[in-house]
Amino acid sequence: MRAYTPKDDVQAKAYYTDRFYVAPQVPKQDVENDEVFAADLAAIKAKFEVSDAYIQVSNMVVYINAKDIYGVLELMRDELDYTQLSEMSAIDWLAKDNTFEIFYQMLSMKKRKRIRVKYFIENGQAVDSVEKLFRCADWSEREMFDMFGIEANNHPFMKRILMPYDWQGNPLLKTYPLEGDEFAAWYEVDKIFGKEARDIIGPEIRDTARVDRYDSERFARLGFEVPKGTEITDDMPRTEQKYQEDDGVFLIKKYDKESSVIVDDPQR
């Protein structure tokens, strides 16, 4: 039977994968291999439920319950010396089992160790804000809300941060379209001038390298310059334009293309 692929995932996909390809795994070590991590994990386990823990690429990953996050980070900050929250965000697993995976990247400068605290939440569930513990979570949680639509309880200012306030949709969801549709393409024109102006304005030209040699309105026709709005015919003579006053400017030497020297040794 064919493997099921979620139809609403619009992300780029590998166009060919070998039938017998088995992806290798990044090795995971047991937490017991590192005594600092083992002690930290024991301290967390004493108070909170830990569903999984391992070391991967020198970071310890700890899976906890969503409701414990504030307590765990408080414990880590106050008792285990993990004084900085480097980063936090979410991973979209909606297509797989309708959950988000939230991660908090913690740093202990005293121990020179990094721990990643993780948990899963259901789609639509809110997380507990840790802004009271780490001020930087103020912006991180706003970014997460902006990008995934995950709200944080007790957050002082739960608004979008990178996208405009009136934006629809959450860009980092796998279902978020990669290109705009007709509505998006004409949004500004419709809003400011009305739909009837679409024909007058015409579609936006996205080709930045496009040069229309018959257009004397918008484009400087380098080497063939004419006054703005001139009708262009096919055989226009070359007109070298010099952008400097004829007598030069006071105290400034007049630039002359012919008599200038190109310096090719930058250290001169």
Partner: protein, 413 residues
């Protein structure tokens, strides 16, 4: 086109009419020249004193994390240039290192040395740019001209290496694409020999300058707790009393083999940050001299490899591709389909000129990263303005934004 009546309703974003007190809301940016790009600050003022600050970002948001999820790993490399575009090789490097850690690659020594040279040149470029623009904001035009002159030399050296001045894309996953050019070391040495005199010039202009001191000393004081809580890293954190440099504490590349100091201060004000940038330039020069020696040892030992040997992930050298059938096939697959790193997760921090630049990659074994999170230092260095600005006066805003050294390519990503 004929004039069409505009359907937008007028509004006055700078004025509020429904307040009884004297509070004025000032809209600073996003087009203000000292906003260093696209920062918008909404400042609540009592007379000239700020009582509340609300930084508004996102004007340069290009959705890099989304782009990364839809690009093969090598394809994303030039996009990272556009994060911290003042020191773009350090972004390239952060991404390359994260993917290498994910795969478990060891990079050849010569490539490591070249990478370190590029990284430190980028650090110098970034610090010189910081000094130039901050000094200009404060009104020291001469320093701006001096520092840009020196930065120009470095840009020429980099241009000689990779052809680009600003967006380098000079580092590849698994190594570097090219050996340094013939006159690279001569040019670099010429520059480094001049650098101490140049730094002394800046310091002579600034260190005892009355205006500079008044604008810098005791302005924008960040306490250690505040810096830690706001996720500050790099010079911002070191100026607040924490001597934390990832190159020293969690060494990558060959930073454990070079000797350098980590300047730090417990003052936490603008002036402390300025001193740290100046000191770091000296330390960087020290590292660069050592990397030149390391490079010469590599040449003497005939270590020529520039890319790691991992046929599953990295294309073979050009000579092999042109002569060996299997290398050509491998190269074709890697270019068209992309490499497929193992299933797993990695968070790799590096010390970029601005602070801790981290790449979090979640790979599901496909040619596209499943999730890529960019931890850009400037994001929180902008956020801290919320708590830092209240209590200061309007002119201080400019000097504080200057010393936080934020770059909006990185804040908005």
């Amino acid at each position: 086109m004929a004039q069409v009546k505009n359907r937008l309703t007028p509004f006055f974003e700078n004025i509020t009419f429904d307040r009884e007190d004297n509070e004025l809301i000032l809209n600073f940016g996003p087009q203000h020249p000292s906003a260093h790009g696209q920062l918008r600050l909404m400042l609540h003022l009592q007379q000239e004193q700020i009582v509340k600050a609300h930084p508004d970002v996102g004007y340069l948001h290009r959705g890099m994390e989304k782009m990364a999820e839809n690009m093969i790993y090598n394809e994303f490399m030039p996009t990272t240039d556009r994060m911290d575009y003042i020191a773009s090789s350090s972004n390239n490097y952060g991404f390359a290192l994260a993917v290498e850690k994910l795969i478990g690659l060891e990079v050849p020594r010569r490539a490591k040395v070249i990478r370190m040279m590029l990284l430190e040149i980028n650090r110098l470029m970034s610090h010189l740019f910081w000094l130039a623009t901050t000094a200009l904001d404060i009104g020291a035009m001469t320093v701006f001209l001096f520092a840009f002159r020196e930065r120009e030399y470095l840009m020429d050296i980099i241009e000689g290496y990779c052809g680009a001045r600003l967006t380098h894309a000079a580092i590849r996953i698994g190594g570097v694409p090219l050996d340094i050019q013939d006159n690279f070391i001569i040019q670099l040495k010429t520059f480094l020999d001049k650098l101490p005199a140049n730094i002394k010039d800046y310091e002579d202009l600034l260190d005892t300058n009355r205006i500079w001191l008044m604008r810098m000393e005791e302005v924008g004081v960040i306490s250690t707790e505040m810096a830690l809580s706001w996720g500050c890293t790099g010079p911002m954190l070191r100026a607040s009393g924490v001597a934390w440099d990832i190159r020293k504490e969690e060494p990558y590349e060959l930073y454990d083999e070079v000797e350098f100091n980590v300047p730090f201060s417990d003052k936490g004000d603008n002036f402390a940050r300025y001193r740290i940038y100046m000191q770091e330039m000296r330390e960087t020069a020290k590292i660069l001299y050592q990397t030149i020696e390391m490079y010469e040892t590599c040449v003497a030992n005939n270590e020529t490899a520039l890319m790691a040997h991992a046929p599953q992930y990295i294309s073979a050298p050009k000579i092999d591709i042109m002569t060996q059938n299997y290398s050509l096939m491998q190269h074709f697959v890697l270019v068209t389909q992309g490499m497929r790193p193992p299933v797993g997760e990695v968070y790799v921090p590096t010390e970029s000129p601005k602070g801790e630049l981290g790449f979090f990659i979640n790979s599901q074994g496909g040619p596209y990263p499943y999730r890529l999170k960019l931890r850009a230092p400037s994001f929180w260095h902008t956020g801290i303005l919320t708590d830092l600005l209240p209590g200061h006066y309007i002119p201080d805003v400019v000097s504080i934004i200057g010393t936080t050294n934020i770059v909006f390519g990185e804040v908005d990503r």
